[in-house]
């Protein structure tokens, strides 16, 4: 009884349309999550039945022999005999149901605890206050590169995630692909994901981590092996050098204002406090999923990040209008 069969059968019951809820886990697309979805639907249905049964029992019990008007004292006190039977039958049935659920839980746990086949790709995810740093690890050191917030993975391959805490506790979670795992400073947690179908799978930090806990989302883009290799080679390359005059001036402004926190490989900018911007335009969103990656968002974000994510580490950099236009033009050359 795999996840997909259950999902379609139960979709009639689903109160919410799962299609437009991107973060739901009642419909999943990977071996690390599908067994959990079946267990989830199973639990939901069993528990709903239990609730309905108990509600009916209480209603019937209340209405069948309720006393009509009249003072309490008027009704005789009596102790009927077969009350204990209720407890024995009720508790017996409950225990059986619980045992069944327990066994199903343990089976599912065994299925998703670790990837059945050895993961062929390792990504080191380091959580910061309010964005995700992802480093693709490779036996050849030169194929190790850093990106942020959006992970590309090839379809059908198991991916090992090494989660390293850097400041406070966060939690990495892509509902459609796997359960969440906390990212705790001082220790490295291991997790794994795998996508059976291509697509965009979103997630969000789910351990309260401070002011902008609400704007710290991540995404996984599962794509064909060829597309993935192409993306990877692009990420390994240095940033393209700007041509137009404004973007050249923008690069100067970037080097003096932004280089202390951001890295653009191929230039002197080597800051690691903020995300690596070498291939920023290759990402769908900016500011950990808060804004779509377009000209207007970039301008608003660079001009005053505090207005969009109050309390985030990106300071309100004071730029003249001309510098702002130039630096946005430069940033848009980083694809």
């Amino acid at each position: 009884m795999n996840g997909r069969h259950f999902a379609s059968a139960a979709s009639l019951l689903a109160l919410c349309g799962c299609s437009y809820a991107p973060l739901t886990y009642m419909r999943t697309y990977g071996p690390a999550a599908d067994p959990i979805t079946s267990l989830g639907w199973g639990l939901t249905i069993v528990c709903s039945i239990v609730v309905v049964v108990i509600t009916m029992l209480v209603l019937i019990a209340t209405l069948r022999a309720r006393a009509t008007r009249g003072s309490m004292a008027a009704i005789a006190i009596s102790r009927s005999s077969n009350g204990l039977l209720w407890i024995y039958i009720g508790t017996g049935l409950s225990s059986l149901v619980l045992l069944g659920l327990l066994i199903w839980t343990m089976i599912t746990l065994a299925a998703v605890a670790d990837s059945p086949k050895a993961p062929s790709l390792t990504i080191e995810i380091r959580a910061h206050q309010w964005w995700w740093e992802a480093r693709y690890i490779d036996p050849i050191a030169a194929d190790t590169f850093v990106t942020a917030n959006e992970l590309h993975i090839p379809v059908g391959t198991a991916v090992r995630l090494r989660l390293i805490g850097d400041d406070v506790i966060h939690s990495f979670w892509i509902p459609a692909l796997a359960g969440k795992t906390d990212v705790i400073p001082g220790q490295t947690n291991a997790a794994w994901i795998e996508a059976t179908t291509a697509g965009l799978y979103r997630g969000q930090c789910t351990e309260y981590c401070g002011l902008q806990h609400a704007h710290m989302s991540e995404a996984v883009i599962a794509e064909s092996d060829a597309q993935f290799q192409q993306w990877r080679t692009l990420q390994l390359s240095d940033a393209a050098s700007p041509e137009s005059a404004t973007s050249l001036q923008g690069q100067q402004v970037f080097l003096s204002h932004c280089a202390a926190c951001h890295t653009v490989r191929g230039t002197d900018a080597g800051g690691i406090l903020g995300p690596d911007l070498t291939h920023l335009m290759g990402r769908r969103t900016i500011a950990a999923g808060t804004l779509p990656n377009n000209l207007d968002s970039l301008t608003r974000w660079i001009a005053n990040a505090q207005a969009i994510k109050p309390g985030c580490q990106m300071p309100a950099v004071e730029l003249s209008h001309e510098d702002l236009v130039a630096v946005v033009a430069y940033v848009q050359t980083l694809d």
């Binding site: 973060l23 609730v51 108990i54 019990a61 006190i77 659920l101 746990l109 989660l163 705790i184 309260y208």
Partner: protein, 649 residues
């Protein structure tokens, strides 16, 4: 010595006053005026103060919740800034769990235990007063931070490193830590008082298999607290030392462990959430049978289930930490333990259903609250089972599904029985019945409001909405669900409002209730209402679980003696009985009104204020004054026989 007395009661069942009453009343009455109020140690006054203060905190917590619901009613709203929202959800959690749920049940137990057990007062009346004053001052100590904008902002669970000095340098978290340690004193002291009262102050004949289930509930909760509260107090002391004195218990750089806090906190956390529901289950098990006109089905299974829940409750704390990367074996063990703990709850549920099924239920408002509680209890329990299954919990944890679960469990199991209990015991406290028609409105508004408000949270959780986010983007499918939840919460708030209206209206214009309006079986209904200061004219001798129904049930020959018993009118006295089968043992000389509890709690609050202000002087003075208050408290008094009698000349 036992003196026979005449008892007749008028049609309303109100006993006629006798000269002995005036003598006992003079002994036990609290002086009027401010001094009396501050030095009062009467368990009934302290119980009511607990309940009233807890309801004030319930209302404050409710307002905080409604403000948050406004902020979350639609995507990308900016009613609250992130900092304000963080402080609000932390204070809402802390207030509801620590300042309402526990204390309101302490209030019920404080008021009812001596009446249920057939005693004149708790074992340690002054300790009882201390536990209330420390609770009040701890609540005030915490809430002082709110107007100054420095309220705790790291959640009621307060995980480091977010709560450590590096990421939260202000005094916010110090208010949380010191407030929790301060409150811990009140809880520990109260639990010790309950434990000793149970063992020593039961009426003769009330062996442990004749205790009301509320007594079982509070007893288990107290033992649980005595074992669990030290864990969180230790955690708070360690984090406070990390923040102020540079120790490294949770500081990763010096090989500290952030998870140490989570373990210590949840070792206390889970037993605490059982401690704030078991007494409520006791209320249901005691009040429901009265309205079903028959004793509770399966008294022994329910009593054992209560104790079993707390015992297993100590072995499940890791289910709050399933996603922290624990080894699979320990995770599997705790998941199994979390499912096993459902079985005792199943026992109680079927016991209640059997009681209603085989009884003749009278649909009073109290009954409606207590029976609808069963449904909410099962919904909360079911979602608890779902989060207990560890792989599914990897998806559920920290989403709104868990928020739905905890509200069903806390409001369903704590608030509904508490309000049902108030409808049930209001006549005993005030001598007046609460208005049934207004009660119906209050019940249905609360029931509908609660379910419309909190059931959609399950859906929001299943749609992946994380906890503690101050806003969310449109297009995630969470807008409609959150709007419904906001509307439901406001309706629920109106329901609670209606309850308060009914309370104040009935105080003045409620129908006179007489001593036993519900013809209930237990001892507290054998005394006049409102209950006189001395509770019992004579200490009753108990022969069964339901002394007032023995005649009609006629299951065995012995009868409880409610009118013939020990009068004990030589000063404030009550009877001490042996632990297991409650045989009369000795007469306890009870201390009278005393200012020592208030002085000690004020001195303690000075100590904690000094700590928050980093001023060694103020905290030093607070410690000194506490020492002095304790000396005053323990000074041996002749009246209590603590000093050698002067030789009779």
């Amino acid at each position: 010595m036992i003196t026979p007395g005449l008892t007749e009661s008028d049609p309303l069942g109100v006993q006629r006053a006798l000269p002995i009453d005036a003598k006992l009343d003079a002994i036990w009455r609290t002086q009027p005026g401010l001094i009396g109020t501050l030095s009062c140690v009467d368990h009934k006054r302290i119980g009511l103060r607990y309940i009233v203060t807890a309801f004030i905190f319930l209302i404050v917590g409710g307002i905080e919740a409604l403000t948050m619901r406004l902020q979350l009613s639609h995507s990308n709203l900016t009613i609250l800034s992130p900092e304000a929202y963080d402080q609000l959800f932390t204070m809402h959690g802390f207030t509801m769990i620590f300042l309402y749920a526990g204390p309101v049940l302490s209030g019920f137990s404080n008021y009812l235990w001596p009446l249920l057990l057939g005693s004149r007062d708790m074992a340690f009346p002054r300790l009882n007063a201390l536990s209330y004053w420390v609770y009040l001052l701890a609540g005030v100590f915490l809430y002082v931070s709110f107007p100054l904008g420095m309220a705790p902002n790291a959640g009621w669970f307060n995980y480091p490193p977010l709560a450590s000095g590096t990421y939260n340098p202000g005094p916010n978290i110090d208010f949380y830590l010191l407030g929790l340690i301060f409150l811990g004193i009140s809880v520990t002291v109260g639990s010790a008082n309950f434990l000793v009262s149970l063992m020593r102050t039961r009426a003769p004949g009330m062996s442990i298999n004749r205790l009301p289930i509320l007594v079982w509930g509070t007893l288990t909760a107290s033992i649980g607290n005595l074992l669990a509260v030290p864990a969180v107090s230790l955690a708070c002391v360690l984090l406070f030392m990390d923040r102020q004195f540079g120790t490294h218990f949770f500081d990763v750089e010096q090989q500290g462990q952030p998870l140490l806090w989570q373990h210590l906190f949840w070792m206390f956390g889970h037993p605490w959430v059982y401690a704030i529901v078991l007494p409520a289950l006791g209320i249901v098990s005691d009040a429901l049978p009265t309205f079903c006109r028959r004793p509770l089905v399966g008294y022994t299974p329910v009593a054992i289930a209560t104790v079993a829940t707390m015992v297993v409750g100590f072995g499940v704390w890791l289910h709050h930490m399933f996603a922290t990367g624990m080894p699979m074996l320990s995770v599997a063990f705790f998941s199994a333990a979390s499912l096993v703990i459902t079985i005792p709850s199943a026992v109680s549920t079927f016991a209640w259903i059997a009681t209603i099924w085989t009884g003749k239920p009278v649909l009073t408002t109290a009954f409606l609250f207590l029976s609808s509680f069963i449904v909410l209890f099962v919904i909360g329990g079911a979602s608890g089972v779902m989060t207990g299954a560890v792989p599914f919990d990897w998806q559920l944890t920290d989403t709104y599904f868990v928020v739905a679960h905890l509200h069903y469990v806390l409001i369903g199991i704590n608030v509904f029985p508490v309000i049902g209990g108030i409808y049930y015991w209001f006549p005993k406290v005030t001598g007046r019945l609460m208005n049934e028609r207004l009660g119906r409105w209050n019940f249905w508004t609360m029931l509908i409001g609660f379910n419309v408000g909190f059931f959609p949270m399950h859906i929001a959780g299943l749609m992946g909405m994380p906890r503690r986010i101050y806003t969310y983007d449109h297009g995630l499918g969470w807008d409609t669900v959150n709007l419904i939840t906001t509307v439901g919460s406001f309706v629920f708030a109106i329901g609670v409002g209606l309850f308060l209206v009914n309370l104040f209206v009935s105080l003045r214009r409620g129908k006179a209730a007489g001593d036993n309006p519900w013809d209930a079986p237990t001892l507290e209904w054998s005394v006049p209402s409102p209950v006189p200061a001395y509770n019992f004219r004579v200490i009753p001798i108990v022969a069964s679980r339901h002394p007032l129904w023995e005649g009609r049930l006629d299951e065995f020959p012995e009868r409880s003696s409610l009118t013939d018993g020990y009068v004990l009118n030589q000063g404030r006295e009550t009877l001490a009985t042996t632990v297991l089968d409650a045989q009369p043992d000795l007469i306890l000389k009870m201390p009278g009104d005393s200012m020592a509890p208030l002085l000690l709690s004020l001195a303690l609050s000075l100590l904690f204020v000094g700590l928050i202000l980093h001023s060694a002087w103020i905290s030093g003075m607070g410690a000194l004054l506490s020492g002095i208050a304790i000396v005053i408290w323990l000074w041996p008094k002749r009246a209590l026989g603590q000093r050698a009698e002067a030789p009779h000349v």
